[in-house]
Amino acid sequence: MEEKPVEKNMGWSDQAIVKTTSKYAKPVSKVSIDKQKSKYKHQLGKKLTQTLLPLIAGVIMIMLWEWQVFHSLFNLQTYQLPLPSTIVEAMIDNRAILLSYAGYTMSEAVLGMLFGSVLGFGFALTATAWPKWGKGGLVLIASLNAVPIVALAPIMNLWFGDGMGSRIAIVTIMTMAAMAINAHKGMSVVDPLALDLMHSYAAKKHEVFRYLRVANSLPFVFTALKINTTASMIGAIVGEFFFSSKGLGYMLSNSIKVAKMPLGWSCIVVAAIAGVVFYLVVERMEKIFLKWHSSQRI
């Protein structure tokens, strides 16, 4: 009964610190503001400035770019750094092919990420189930993370041909390690009491996994998935630089070679949008999935 006011109390007292701000207290207030942000009523106005400010900054940047301020500042020519208007123009002119290439690249990224994540999760399961040997294997998989993808591209091309397969393989390898490491962490950092509880039920090994470890690893799994969205886009695009006849990466490197800079830039813009959308989708999934997960636990 009494708990709630106390909790609020703390919030308020933090706020009070903000009010007292002397010049010394400034950094203190920062933290308090962050923590309290969501509780504020005048949230809306805050959100507005939060989106408006960067938006305005972005618009100004684009205008400076369009008006060739950067060009004169860094002594660039428009054929080196095309103007935003010409980029947009190129995007509109080539929208059909850009769209289909974006779809192609995205399918490589998504498929590769799915394979990589499933494999990584599988490795994590095995490594948790048989820790003695599993961990050693995990070290090796983790070191895959440090292998430069560009070195993988030609090899994957040899192994899987010049079609989609080789890029999917690259993305698979790139995403596998992050998933394996994170999922393993999630499965092994289990509350010892929860483990004891499982023991008291005489739960078998696979039951412990099913009821406890897998669920416990979910937040970690989603962290890995979020890391992997970026990695998979990079993998797909860089893979396409080398042997692909389709996709954003192919078009990007090709248009630069034939002096179609605006088209090259529009590939980057499309790739960026695709990357952000991909990320947001995974984040959305995390919200849905983890909400379900925590509601299951209560």
Binding site: A57, L76, W133, A146, P148, I149, A271
Partner: protein, 269 residues
């Protein structure tokens, strides 16, 4: 004595794994070459003993080029790390700067940054600068974001303690926020280090005067007869990536030894 046996036991599984993989690889290589007689068998899975021979033969070249790649990556990495830390500090000091830059920092995380390489290369007049720039750019954001998270992770009571000492802002940073942010900083650096190497090699593959990527490219180009040398360059590239990660991990052990990850002393029970 005691320590050594612990060490042995701890690394034994990894060691066995490596041996196992090498044997498997040799077998697969032999299978592909003699049993299934696949086209370009040795390019797909080369004999490891042949690679070792190549290594001994061209060790100097590989070392020199690997060093060139590594130093370019390292310069870019250091530059990116310094800038990243600076931005994180600025963001933690000023709400204004944070609101301005944070959304872009996050968005740029989701952009396939390496895709920018050809364009940066096109704008820059110098491959060295391009390599350093791309390695730095890759390093910049993970470091800035993780550092910021670290600076923010400071708990309110710890700040109040400083406040009660009437600590000046720079004191609070020096004594509290920076050390508290070290683990975050290192996780950012550990993500960035191999990526910086990747970035440097990518630029080299596009065309450069020196670096491991350059011989990688040339050996690819001159066909399957150079496949052992090509594979050697791949191994050197991988080695550089792993090395960069290990160096950062080792540094972390020195500069932030209190972390939970370092607490368990033994290996597996």
């Amino acid at each position: 004595m005691g320590m050594q046996s612990v060490l042995n036991r701890r690394w034994l599984p990894t060691f066995v794994w490596i041996i196992g993989l090498v044997l498997f690889w040799e077998l697969a290589s032999w299978f592909l070459l003699h049993v299934s007689e696949a086209p370009m068998a040795q390019s797909k899975i080369p004999y490891i003993h042949e690679l070792i021979i190549t290594f001994t033969e061209y060790g100097t070249t590989l070392f020199i080029e690997g060093r060139a790649t590594f130093s370019n990556a390292a310069i870019g990495f250091l530059l990116g790390a310094v800038l990243g830390v600076t931005l994180a500090v600025l963001m933690s000091v000023s709400k204004w700067i944070e609101q301005l830059t944070f959304p872009y920092a996050v968005a740029s995380q989701m952009i396939p940054i390496l895709g920018l390489a050809p364009i940066v290369y096109g704008i820059m007049r110098d491959e060295q600068v391009a390599r350093i720039l791309i390695a730095g750019y890759i390093t910049f954001f993970p470091v800035a974001l993780n550092m910021l998270r670290g600076l923010r992770s400071v708990d309110t009571s710890a700040l109040e303690l400083m406040y009660s000492y009437a600590a000046k802002p720079w004191m609070i940073y020096w004594k509290l926020r920076f050390p508290a942010a070290l683990p975050g900083l290192f996780s950012g650096l550990k993500i960035a280090a191999p990526l910086a190497v990747t970035g440097a090699i990518l630029v080299e593959l596009m065309g450069a005067q020196n670096g491991i990527g350059v011989i990688m490219l040339r050996n690819l180009y001159y066909g399957p007869s150079h496949n052992y040398m090509f594979w050697s360059t791949v191994i050197v590239g991988a080695f550089l990536g792993v090395m960069s990660y290990l160096i950062i991990s080792l540094l972390e052990r020195f500069l932030a030894p209190w972390q939970a990850d370092f607490r368990t002393n033994g290996g597996d029970r």
